[in-house]
Symmetry: C2
Subunit: 317 residues, 2 copies
C-alpha cells in the first residue's frame, strides 16, 4: 500500500513514532482502501475515545481556547490530541494556517499531537475522515481528542456537533451578527463560551443566549452553561474544562453517552455507504455512456433526472 | 401530488400567480418525486438562465449589495429573481431572517421574486435545490437570477460558485481574518467587491487581493476586477453591474459559458444520482438487518466498513 502498511504503521505509532501517526491520518484523509484499512484497525479499541468539539464563527478565538485547554489538560498530566478543520481548497492544495501557529507552543511536547485536516476537494469527506482520524489518535495514546471547526458552514458545525461534548464559542457583539448560523450552533451546543469577555457587550450576549435556551431547550437535566473567558490570557479555561467534565458526567449518568456513540456509529456506516456508491456513480458518469447522456442533458434533449435514471439503471445491472 | 399538480402550477406561475411560483420552489426544496417532476418541466426551457452568485463572509453586506443590484436591474426594466441561502436548522425549522427584511423594498414589484431557501436538514440538498429553484424562476419570467450565499462553509461557496458569474464580497479588514475561507472564495471569484469602502483599510485589502490574484490566477483573458462599493448607499452598484456584464461578454466570446453550462449539467446529474442512492442507503440502514449491523458496530463486534459492505451487498442483490 502506498505510504506503508497500515498495520506496521500502527505498531510504530503506538511505540511513539510521530511520523507514523501523521501517515495514518494522511491515509484517513485520502479516503479509499487505505482509509478503510486504518479505520478497521482502530475501531474496536478506539471507538469510545473522548471527543470534544469546539466551534464558532471565524475569529471567535477557538484556536486560542483550544490552546488554553491543551495547556490545562497537560498540567493535569493527561495526553491530548487536536484536530483542526481548516477551510481549504483544491486550488491552493493546502490549509490556510493562521493563529493555529500559536499551537507550536506544544511542538516539543510528546503528550500532545496536533493536526490540521485538509478537505482535499470536498468537505463532505471530512465528515468521515475526522472521526477516523480521532480514532487513530485514541489508538496511539491520545484518548482525549479536541476537534476544532469553523462554525459557519453546516457541514463544519455537524462535524464539531458529532463529539461527546460540543463547546460553542461566541463573542460580545454576537447579537448583531444575525446572519451567523445561530440556530445550527444552538442545536449542537452542550457548553457556551463567551470569549473575549473583557470587551463590552458580555451581558447582552449572555441575555441573548439565555433567551434562546429558554425558547429552544426543553427542560431537562442538562441546560448548556455559559462560561466567560479571555482565552488569550488563559482566563476562564479552567471553568470551561469544569463545564466539559460536568457534561461528561451527565452523559454517563443519563445513558446519553451510549446513545451518542450508537448514533455516531450508525452515521458512520451511512457515510461509508454513501461515499462508496458516490465513487461508483462518478465512475459511471465519466464512462463513455455517462458522458454521452450528460451531453444530451447539456443540449436540452433530455433532463438531468432522465440521465440519472439511465445511469442508475446501468449501476444496478 | 401533495400541494398541487406541478404542470398546472407551472401554467399558473407563468400567468403571474406568485403563490404558484412559491409552491413550485417548495416542491424543489422538499426533494423527491415532486422536485423531479418540476425539474423535468423546466430543464429544457430554463437551463440557460443567467445565474449570478454573490458570496462572502457573514456581515460583508451581501444582502445590501443584492438589494442595490436588484434596484439597478429594475431601473433598466429587466425582471430579476433572488434566491437567498440562509443558514437554517431542523431545530428551528426555518430560516433566520435578518437584513434580508430590507428586501421588502421590492415586495410590491411583480418584476422581482425573492425567496429564502431553507436547508431542511442537510445543506447538501441545496446543491441540487438551488439550481432547480433558479430554473423555476427562469421558466416563469425571471431569466436573471441572483443567488446569495454565506461564504464560509465549502458547500455554500460551491453553490454560489456554480453560477455563470460569481461575485465575492469582502470588506476592509479582510486581511486580518486569516481564518476565513480565502482560498475557496478566491477560487470561485469572477468579480471582487470591496464593500463598506468608506471604512479605513481599503488600500490594504485591495493590495491583498491583487497579490492573491498574482499568485493564483493564470494569465489569461479574464482577471477578476476589484470594485469598491458602499452598498448601503447604493454607491458602486453600477460599477459592479458593469463588471458582471463584462464578465458575461467574456464568457460568451471565449466559449467558457457553454463549458460552465455543460459542467453544471454533469454536476447536477451526479447530484441526483448520489441523492437517489443515499435515500436507498438510508432505507437499508433503518431496515431490521441494517439496524442489527449498526448495533454490532456500536458494540465493537464489527467495524463500520464491514457493516457498510454487508448493507451494500444487500442493496446490489
Amino acid at each position: 500500500m502506498r505510504g506503508g502498511d497500515p498495520e506496521a504503521l500502527l505498531t510504530s505509532a503506538q511505540a511513539g513514532d510521530r511520523r507514523a501517526i501523521a501517515r495514518l491520518i494522511s491515509f484517513v484523509e485520502r479516503g479509499g482502501d487505505a482509509a478503510s484499512a486504518v479505520s478497521r484497525l482502530t475501531w474496536s479499541a478506539a471507538r469510545k475515545a473522548s471527543l470534544i468539539g469546539l466551534t464558532g464563527a471565524p475569529g471567535a478565538g477557538k484556536s486560542t481556547l483550544t490552546n488554553a485547554l491543551v495547556r490545562l489538560v497537560r498540567d493535569k498530566g493527561e495526553r491530548v490530541g487536536v484536530l483542526a478543520i481548516d477551510p481549504s481548497s483544491p486550488f491552493t492544495n493546502g490549509a490556510i494556517l493562521g493563529d493555529r501557529v500559536r499551537m507550536q507552543d506544544h511542538a516539543t511536547d510528546e503528550g500532545v499531537f496536533i493536526r490540521s485536516m485538509a478537505t482535499r476537494g470536498h468537505i463532505g469527506g471530512l465528515a468521515l475522515a475526522t472521526p477516523e482520524a480521532a480514532r487513530v489518535l485514541a489508538a496511539v495514546g491520545y484518548p482525549l481528542v479536541l476537534i476544532e471547526t469553523v462554525g459557519v458552514g453546516q457541514v463544519e458545525v455537524e462535524i464539531a456537533g458529532a463529539a461527546d461534548t460540543t463547546v460553542v464559542v461566541v463573542n460580545p457583539g454576537w447579537g448583531d451578527a444575525v446572519q451567523a448560523n445561530k440556530a445550527g450552533l444552538l442545536e449542537v451546543a452542550d457548553v457556551f463560551v463567551i470569549n473575549k469577555a473583557d470587551r463590552p457587550g458580555v451581558a447582552e450576549v449572555r441575555r441573548d443566549l439565555e433567551a434562546m435556551l429558554d425558547m429552544h431547550v426543553a427542560p431537562g437535566p442538562w441546560r448548556p452553561p455559559i462560561v466567560e473567558t479571555v482565552a488569550a490570557r488563559g482566563e476562564g479555561a479552567a471553568e470551561v474544562w469544569d463545564a466539559i467534565s460536568a457534561h461528561r458526567a451527565h452523559l454517563v449518568e443519563s445513558g446519553e453517552l451510549e446513545r451518542r456513540q450508537a448514533k455516531r456509529a450508525t452515521a458512520e456506516v451511512r457515510e461509508i455507504i454513501v461515499r462508496t456508491i458516490e465513487a461508483k456513480a462518478v465512475a459511471a458518469l465519466h464512462a463513455p455512456d455517462g458522458e454521452a447522456l450528460c451531453d444530451q442533458v447539456t443540449a436540452g434533449e433530455i433532463d438531468p433526472h432522465a440521465a440519472a435514471e439511465s445511469i442508475l439503471k446501468n449501476l444496478d445491472a
